[in-house]
Amino acid sequence: MKYIIIKPIDGYDSKQRCEAMNKELWHISVPLAVKNQEDITSELFGEIELTSGEYSLHIDEDYEIVVNDSLNVDALVALFPELTESEKNGLVSYIENSESFLFKNIIPQGTNLYTYEEMLDLELLEEIEEI
């Protein structure tokens, strides 16, 4: 399990973007159009508030995401304004043409992944000292 620090973008602070990304990642498997109202699951990964006030996704690179035929990834892609049009098209094409994929295969190039120890070193998480 690793951590991805979510930076704010226009219209979203770190927390809002983190929550939105997490829900849209879940919607790849269960789009709102097919979601049962009784279903409990609503997001993919844990969200952690950092000491900096920013938010982080606690991710599993090898988590297998099953692709639902009814998916629409427009909202997900819109949360990555830093991607070029070519990169966005590549991301959409990869997701839409997969039955399932590992999460690490859609992490944008240049994204920093941190271990728990690295997050402690950066003083973004506080260590729980146990007796």
Binding site: E43, V66, E126
Partner: protein
Amino acid sequence: MSFKIGNKQANRSYLGSNSINKVYLGNTVVFSVTGQLVADYGTGALIAFGLKYLSVYYAGDVVRVRRSSDSSESDFNPTEVTDGTLTTFVGAGNSGFVTKWYNQGTGGGTYDATQTTSSQQPQIVDSGSLILRNGNASVKYNGSGQKLLVGTTSNIKFTHYQKSSLFVVQQPSQSANPETLYWMTGTHTSVSSGRRSYYVRYDDRSVSSFNNDMVHVIGNNGVVVLNGTKPKPQNIWPSNSLSVARVYSDPANSTASQRSKITVNNAAFLMQNTDRRNPSSSNAAGRLAVGASEQNQTTQTWGDCISAYILYDEDVYSDDADIYDDLETMYI
């Protein structure tokens, strides 16, 4: 064997003014209260999670499961958990994850335990097979963030104040000496605000004086008390076997040694003084975690299974022997 007074079947027995649930003749039970399950002692457990029925007053579904193949979810009762209905729903080779553990206790649905985050949902079916411990269907945690969270706010005596009684049929790990600390349940709040709650953990660190111990940790604004057994022989409670943990918490008790009591299986209770000050009201903000010590914990959560979890919002110590007897009969 029945116990009759005249021609009438007895359904309650007393010693003085105390109600007795079982009467023994030697090692044989000659009387037991009929129509009562393990969550029905006292005024009834507030919270009772299991994959078997734990209360005669509950007859609904016990678990909601998400299958890995398409993330569809469905509810199951105890019969459906074990008769193949659940594994058929999940499908051959697939996995099933617990999204909701229904509360069978008196607290009702407010105290259901849920997990909305798919990667943090504990498992009940692995590669198409029901997860079993001692032949019992069990909920399995991965030790790396999987947990269930009770209700919307905790507001439970175990995590705050007054008397409570906790019974958990559990197995901390799949190996005997994993050199790890596992958190089972609690509302241990953020480190920045200090330890201000109670939680239970299993310590398997050889460097720890509590190695191989189930430990009740009582924290109050920086004052921390640990109640666990020490010193003990190595592996007296091995982490890779199913056992029954019982914790009685009564921080305001005028008798210091009665404020925390803990044991595993049939060992004598360990008793410990605790800080008597009421923990901060901020404890109420944390949701009670099952499989972790607090809702935001992402590392070193519970490492293997919980088969049953019963929390009374009262002291049922006078019924302890019967409750343990019931759990041992059902699970061990």
